[in-house]
Amino acid sequence: MNLSLFRRLVQTLVALGTNGYLLFPFTLDIYKGPLKAVCHPGLNCYACPGALLSCPVGAFQNFLAAVRMSAGAIPNLGGIVVGYLGFIGVLVGRVPCGWLCPFGFIQDLLYKIPTPKFSFWRPLRWCKYVVLVGLVILAPLLIVDQVGLGHPWFCKLLCPAGTLLGAFPLLIIKPNLWENLGFWFWNKFFWFVLIVAGVIFISRFFCRLLCPLGAFYSLFNRISLVKLDYIEGNCVHCLACVPACPTGVRAYEERDSRECILCLRCVQACRFGALDFSLRRPLPAPRKTVARAVEPPKRVTQPT
């Protein structure tokens, strides 16, 4: 099977499978079963009526937002989420972004809309780290109400997955929510429109610019157990891999790029076998014992 088709199939199955609570039109509520104790590896709003899993970014912010409420006990700092995401990151780096994230899949589909396409100004990629530290970690910890409770600020201000998968369906099945729409909703709606417009014109715009989950996974791209392998001897510098990459990585000169989502489109685009998917050894290979060749006797020249 074609690799792109296989990836599309995986993305479709994961997106539909993890949002497969089909009873919500009848219960008019979100799924509340035991699977909600498990986080999705990608960005998938847990307020989505069909969502079977929790959103790791939303859950982590809620842990930090409630940290002052656990006075007396051991504070819940979200180690369960960080451990889970870090474990995935060390194993496979940003593979979840390329293969498992439902919002990444939606971006791939939106980018297929035939319009003029634009490139991404590369320094902007650092914004996602600001979002991770500022909105996901610091703001929920530091901005608290009188009771000491924080808010999930990334969800509240920005998250387009929440607007698309959570807000829109819930506003349809729960019309009473319309009465509470105010500044926060319209702010999120504004960002949503802006991000969707960006996604249509720039490949993986949200992942590259704002996604805190992608920013977290990207920290492990240089040490993860899987990697994109570049075989220099096979490369003819035809640059076929450059337009194929959805995140604008130049695979022939950027080794282990933090932007690489390991979608393997470049591997497919390369006709010379210069790029491949491979495993990185976690530990040095065992030394082979090689019989040392007998050195020829040194010629000693006698001083005359």
Binding site: D29, I30, Y31, K32, K36, A37, C45, Y46, A47, S54, G58, A59, N62, F63, A73, I74, N76, G78, G79, I80, V81, V82, G83, Y84, G86, F87, V90, L91, H151, P152, C155, K156, C159, G162, T163, G166, A167, L170, L171, L177, N180, L181, G182, W184, F185, W186, N187, K188, F189, I223, S224, L225, K227, D256, R280, R281, P282, L283, P284, A285
Partner: protein, 44 residues
């Protein structure tokens, strides 16, 4: 390229996860997940 950090980090994150489970974070996660996130919708 070899990567001596990977094994250490895998152990570290596994421990972090297990500590989280043991101090009751699983229940917290479950409760968060089954509550409608008003912030996500933009109404709270």
């Amino acid at each position: 390229m070899r990567n001596p950090w990977a094994i250490g980090l895998i152990i570290f994150f596994s421990l972090l996860f297990l500590i989280g489970v043991n101090i009751g974070e699983l229940d917290f996660l479950y409760n968060v997940g089954r509550t409608i996130c008003l912030s996500c919708i933009g109404v709270g």
